[in-house]
């Protein structure tokens, strides 16, 4: 508030007193008027220079400031032409453009769906829909089950697998195996067999007789073909060689000194039988 703002004489006196204490004291109204441009005479004495300065900053343009107008305008205009200057799109054309994009997206999606459907490349359910739709317009497309073989074509109906069309070997096998599950289940729950026998029966049934499970005895029983370490066929330790081998093999060994001798016409040094001779012949 200033003395010129129509305030009471008491307030004017207060402001004068404040300015005497702080000559640069300003109120908000005076700040605004200084910035807007107030007459020098109306300004507080300490701000008259500021008023001059601010009015200078607002002064009319000088010739120097407008120098080079021709060249500047030409440059600016040409550069603004270089940048794309499409007229601002109206709201109507914006909506039209959006509709065009939506239409193109729908057509594209439909084309893709029909194309994949005709090629049979869609997932099962989608292929079924595509097949149904295209069949109404006379276009033959693969059904979703054309590659399914004997596998169920309907979710949750695996029990009907034997009803699947059977035109190949697998289908025949599937027909033959009808009821096999029940048989296997019966074997598995039959208390008349246990252990290896039950396992062999189940395995054989499940594999249509191809399994040999259980036919080679009990895996937990000692294998008689395996040498019994507790009862070796020959005393240990032994000197090894032909005699030992013959004893261990029940006379079946063909190796050793005799064989070597025979093969070499008596010239072999191999085998333990010749070892003593060899040693004896050493110098």
């Amino acid at each position: 508030m200033t003395p010129s703002s129509g305030s009471s004489p008491e307030m004017d006196e207060t402001l004068r007193f404040l300015r005497m204490r702080d000559p640069l004291q300003l109120d908000d109204g005076t700040v605004d008027r200084l910035l807007d441009g107030m007459p020098v005479d109306d300004a507080p004495p300490s701000y008259r220079g500021v008023v001059e300065l601010l009015s200078t900053l607002k002064a009319a343009p000088s010739a120097a400031e407008l120098d080079g107008e021709r060249q500047a305008v030409t440059t600016i205009t040409s550069r603004s032409h270089e940048t794309a200057r499409p007229s601002p799109p109206s709201r109507r054309s914006s909506v039209k453009r959006r509709l065009q994009l939506t239409g193109a997206a729908i057509v594209g999606t439909a084309t893709l769906f029909v194309g994949l459907g005709a090629a049979g490349a869609l997932p099962g359910a989608a292929q079924g829909v595509a097949s149904d739709v295209l069949s109404t317009v006379g276009v033959s497309t693969p059904s979703p089950n054309s590659h399914a073989g004997v596998h169920p074509d309907t979710r949750g109906r695996s029990g009907d697998a034997s009803d699947a069309p059977s035109s190949d070997t697998a289908a025949t096998d599937a027909g033959a195996s009808s009821g096999q599950g029940a048989t296997i289940s019966g074997l598995a729950t039959d208390n008349s067999t246990t252990g290896i026998d039950k396992g062999a029966a189940v395995s054989s049934e499940a594999s249509n007789g191809r399994s040999q499970a259980g036919q080679h005895g009990d895996a937990t029983a000692p294998d008689t073909a395996t040498p019994d370490a507790a009862n070796p066929p020959v005393a240990t330790p032994n000197p090894g060689g032909t005699t030992t081998a013959d004893t261990a093999s029940g006379g079946s060994s063909d190796t050793g000194t005799n064989t070597a001798d025979t093969a070499s016409g008596g010239h072999a040094d191999a085998g333990s039988g010749n070892a003593s001779n060899g040693l004896a012949n050493r110098p």
Binding site: L35, T56, L57, E65, R79, T83
Partner: protein, 190 residues
């Protein structure tokens, strides 16, 4: 410029008419130079001003609004270009003593007349440049660009109340500076 005149000018500018661009350039170029003189060294001002116009011309076909809106938009770009240029050069306006101090005879004449008639726009801008950056910017955008406190606040990213405080403090500092100029003995400056 009336609203109608500005609308016609803007339409011409957006259509790329040189005459309309010329009208706009004459209306804004002096203010732009004065604004930039408060922020940059004199030798950099013309280059920064050219960059401002080029950046404005790239986008003015998208502008909608009245003259005051355009001025606010124009000076927000000017401030942005100025900040970029300042960052590139790594320096703020180098305030030269010769820029802000009138010759002794001129200063004496100004002091005697009680007004600074000899104060040119360049020197006034140089004086404004001596203020703390935000104070000088708040005053320059209000006085030189002719924007109200709300628009200045929007450009500076501050509240209008904060801008008013900055302007208040800036005016006070200017008054102190001018008072020191007026009372300084001659032998100090020579």
């Amino acid at each position: 410029m009336s609203d109608r005149q500005f609308a016609d000018t803007l339409a011409g500018v957006q259509d790329g008419e040189e005459a309309a661009v010329s009208v706009l350039w004459r209306a804004l170029q002096p203010s732009l130079l004065r604004f930039l003189r408060t922020r940059h060294a004199p030798q950099d001002v013309d280059d920064v001003a050219s960059e401002v116009w080029l950046r404005v011309s790239r986008s003015w076909h998208r502008f909608h609004g009245d003259e005051l809106d355009f001025r606010a938009w124009f000076f927000s770009i000017a401030r942005s270009v100025s900040v970029d240029a300042y960052r590139r050069s790594g320096r703020r306006r180098e305030v030269l003593v010769d820029d802000i101090e009138p010759r002794i005879s001129e200063r004496r004449a100004a002091a005697e007349s009680g007004a600074l008639e000899s104060l040119g726009t360049a020197r006034a801008a140089a004086l404004l440049a001596t203020l703390p950056r935000e104070q000088g910017e708040a005053i320059a955008l209000r006085v030189i660009a002719g924007l109200d406190a709300e628009r200045v606040a929007a450009i500076m990213g501050k509240r209008p109340g904060t801008v008013r405080v900055l302007q208040h403090r800036g005016l006070r500092k200017l008054a102190e500076l001018l008072e020191r100029e007026r009372t300084r003995p001659e032998d100090v400056t020579r």
